[in-house]
């Protein structure tokens, strides 16, 4: 195949999954620059495996798995960079500022405060628990999708999700977040 045909084929296969992959990259790394770096690494790797990609029934799942594996392989690098910025918070500033409220200013402000409390609570979870709760409850991944993505049994996914939520509830209760 010519380079141009390869490029077009690649684009057709990966483009429908861009937004979901971008969000996954962000949930994995916790910061936009690292997420974009991971996203770029994924595309480079995936293009090098175009022959495999063409033959795959569900490119979205495959791409997510490749991204997760890339992240695990490079975790040392990402973790190192995250350590430098831990005081900046897990939630991006533009995320909070970009929160689109649709209630009264007071209610929106209260909601924003709760999101900040949630952000702090999430930071207290282990990496495994945080990732699972974010993928399931924030991104809407199904249990078996998480199982496929990170390679742990569905039962383990469930129990980690349960523990993560319980821990979040505990932290948010301590901080007086609930109404």
């Amino acid at each position: 195949m010519s380079d141009e045909i390869n490029k077009q084929l690649f684009q057709r296969l990966v483009q429908p999954h861009f937004e979901r992959l971008y969000r996954l990259a962000f949930r994995l790394t916790g910061r936009k620059p690292e997420a974009e770096d991971l996203f770029q690494e994924l595309l480079i790797k995936a293009y090098g495996k175009l022959d495999d990609l063409v033959a795959i029934e569900e490119p979205g799942s495959w791409l997510s798995r490749v991204m997760y594996n890339l992240f695990i392989d490079e975790q040392r690098r990402f973790a190192r960079r995250r350590m430098h910025t831990v005081e900046e918070g897990f939630l991006p500033v533009d995320g909070i500022e970009g929160f689109a409220g649709n209630e009264s200013p007071e209610q929106d402000q209260r909601r924003l405060e709760k999101l900040n409390q949630l952000d702090l609570a999430l930071k207290q979870l282990s990496d495994e628990h945080r990732l699972i709760v974010l993928l399931h409850d924030a991104e809407g991944y199904k249990l078996d999708e998480i199982h496929t993505l990170i390679g742990i049994p569905v039962g383990t996914v469930k129990s980690r999700l349960h523990r993560a939520r319980a821990r979040l509830r505990e932290i948010l209760t301590e901080t007086g977040t609930f109404s």
Partner: protein, 178 residues
């Protein structure tokens, strides 16, 4: 606390999580990422050692270091200035420098740290002066392409520090900007 309180709190957490924001990509990011991936393809794996034919590495700037089997055990003596390899870059024009380490033996779990002078950046790592990879060296030639961008005309030295166990060796690359 009774069960209905717990259920209400769980529900509130779920609603908050649904609103927990994630950024969206900037305009043009996807197009740029796609173009970069397809143009540079699999050879553009900057965080992986890729063993490759020596000839194919010569297209761009190339710096070759020989890594002897006992190189890490030898003292890290100062390099004479005239023996430091150098490249000349054009301001704000990306240039790929291929670092080639010819290793006499395989080395597992080696760490490479690239330190950049002010005004020189590694593509994809804006603002970072130090980038670290963990990798293994195969016996033979190990090829690492680095895409550098000069943001000022000052130039300087790019340092590549290779560590294995408790030993290390630093290699220097002089960069001039025209």
């Amino acid at each position: 606390m009774n069960n209905s309180d717990l259920e209400r709190q769980d529900q509130e957490i779920l609603e908050l999580l649904k609103d927990y924001p994630a950024p969206t990509a900037d305009a043009g990011f996807y197009e740029h990422a796609l173009a970069r991936a397809t143009h540079e393809g699999s050879r553009r794996q900057r965080n992986r050692w890729v063993m490759t034919g020596f000839g194919s590495a010569i297209a761009a700037g190339l710096v070759l270091w020989f890594v002897g089997a006992t190189f890490l055990a030898t003292p890290n003596l100062p390099q004479p200035e005239d023996s430091i390899p150098g490249i000349t870059m054009t301001l704000e024009e990306p240039r790929t420098v291929n670092l080639v380490f010819a290793s006499a033996a395989a080395l597992d779990a080696a760490t490479l740290t690239v330190t950049l002078p002010d005004g020189i950046e590694l593509a994809g790592f804006p603002g970072q002066r130090e980038i670290t990879w963990q990798t293994s060296l195969v016996e033979g030639k190990n090829f690492l392409p680095l895409e550098l961008i000069a943001l000022s005309s000052v130039g300087g030295e790019v340092l590549a520090r290779l560590e294995h166990d408790d030993r290390d060796r630093t290699f220097r690359l002089r960069v001039e900007v025209s």
